[in-house]
Symmetry: C2
Subunit: 360 residues, 2 copies
Amino acid sequence: MKKRIAVLPGDGIGPEIVAGAMKILQTIETLYRHQFEITYADIGGCATDKTGTPLPNETITICKNSDAILLGAVGGPKWDSLPVEKRPEQGLLKIRKELNLFANIRPTTCYESLAASSPLKEDIIAGVDLIVVRELTGGIYFGKPSERRLIDGKPGAVDTLQYENEEIERVVEKAFEIAKTRSKKVTSVDKANVLETSRVWREIASQVAEKYPDVILEHMLVDNAAMQLVRNPKQFDVIVTENMFGDILSDEASVLTGSLGMLASSSLSAGGPYLYEPIHGSAPDIAGENIANPLATILSVSMMLRLSFQMENEATIIEEAVNNVLNKGFRTRDILAPNCTIVSTTEMVEEVEKEIRQLV
Amino acid sequence: MKKRIAVLPGDGIGPEIVAGAMKILQTIETLYRHQFEITYADIGGCATDKTGTPLPNETITICKNSDAILLGAVGGPKWDSLPVEKRPEQGLLKIRKELNLFANIRPTTCYESLAASSPLKEDIIAGVDLIVVRELTGGIYFGKPSERRLIDGKPGAVDTLQYENEEIERVVEKAFEIAKTRSKKVTSVDKANVLETSRVWREIASQVAEKYPDVILEHMLVDNAAMQLVRNPKQFDVIVTENMFGDILSDEASVLTGSLGMLASSSLSAGGPYLYEPIHGSAPDIAGENIANPLATILSVSMMLRLSFQMENEATIIEEAVNNVLNKGFRTRDILAPNCTIVSTTEMVEEVEKEIRQLV
Ligand SMILES: CC(C)[C@H](C(=O)O)[C@@H](O)C(=O)O
Ligand SMILES: CC(C)[C@H](C(=O)O)[C@@H](O)C(=O)O
């Protein structure tokens, strides 16, 4: 059956790494006789340049009519001084909301071959394998009012952290569903000693836990979680938390293993389509130089094949190919290590492709 | 001239580590012929037990009538199921508000002798010397509404992130004042791509910077800051940020060097008194066992002597004494390293005292 994929390259290195990932997708298509129908669309700064808005309606329509979405990256200094609603990030926030992508899934695993580029000592990171499940369509990102206003007659500003119980419940459930297939431990992160939304979060997490008697639930305060991620990341299996805490903690988690350029993510809704993207940003400083690391985007494609299309074999083949390429010592600059061979973006893609052809 | 010091031991290991710090203070008093008038008062869970509230009015009065305040730590599982307003942390939040302690100053330095207990690789942490300046009396910690309520007819909850421009200005100024005496770089951390309060924060930080032409101001998004702290903490000198981001980032920063048990902090108001406390918590699991590390509290006393009483020599002597004791290999369990001598809380205090007597 034909699969429709919306592809949103975005800004900076987005187009290059997405082009690489598309080559891998085509390789899989040919080798496994699938049919992928690709539709390209604009998001971010390039969309603002063309249409005046970072998420044109056409892009929304294309996404809604697809079975899955692949996103490169958005943003760059070029658009930093535009009015808020035209900035690239607004495209990202809006697509999350439009497609109801309430659960952002960010796995962090330790590639043995990359341990050298981790800032942490080897005994701390070896074996790290955790997933951050971040609530993505609620909280202080979308609460109103968010405005400048007088406070007791003096100029100031306000933002609103707001959650409906249902929004908390569905994302916590997603975390438990994932934990069930893994080490069966959920760490729910909040700031229940200060925030009312966190106290509600904690109650609901405990209620959801009752439905999963074989999964352990642990509550942790966000400040402590920020410490524990550095101190002993191995203690975590699945972390679930609200939007802003998830933004901070998942980025913190992503640098632990030294392989930020390798990390893929998925954003899930109730009925699909899901969105896949690398965790790293648009790196405008190296855009167009053919030196960016395409592996996180390639691994995002692998995630898509597994989660959206149930193509488990195809997904695994890509992961194995990436692993083999790393073990052979091929590296883009961001993950360079002694005695390795430095390759360009396109060379890295070719190496992965070669491996896939050998593995199938 | 007599100095009045309010001493609030609090819960868990609080009383033990404060007792140790008091011994050091008395040693300084005798050696330098100062007069410190100590008044003890209750805060936290022990205060709730005695009086029904975690911050009795008597404690507030004692603090307001003092020249400086030393706090141990508050909290413990014993009080976790009490109604919010009786919980130990509320005592902490209330004393900050009552004394208008708007700037929390948390230095993180790397003790060479403790590098072994850092989770980070040595080349990443060697030479780290940064200060987090956290806004402490505003933001989402104190904004109203903070309550459960119906949202579009469905059960939910809300918290409010609120800042007056003046609140932002005074804490950013404090950061610049501190940076002026150091490496002359301020990193202002916000989430200006999402929050209106952060956009105002960024504007005000830029305005304040104009008054300090010799200090460099850099803006950084909070998610990036959480990454950079792990990746390359040496890039930072003074970090200034709002209350909740500061809570998370300062705790993250505190574990980088592996010496959480060594870190002191001060909380400043416009006219004093200032409050000093160790960064670590009340560690109820080891309370009463005489094994807690008293050094962060002793170093909080040193900070007090320097900042509140301008006793620079006395402050430096304590710091040197602590350094010497570490170099001689004395360690409480939390900072134990190979070939070191494990000591109890009271033994550690005695060693520091001995060093001070030799140094003076
Ligand atoms: C660009 C920004 C709005 C976004 C966020 O904060 O969600 C980004 O940091 C992310 O994590 O995807
Ligand atoms: C106990 C808690 C309310 C407090 C805070 O969040 O401010 C603590 O984490 C701190 O950093 O002093």
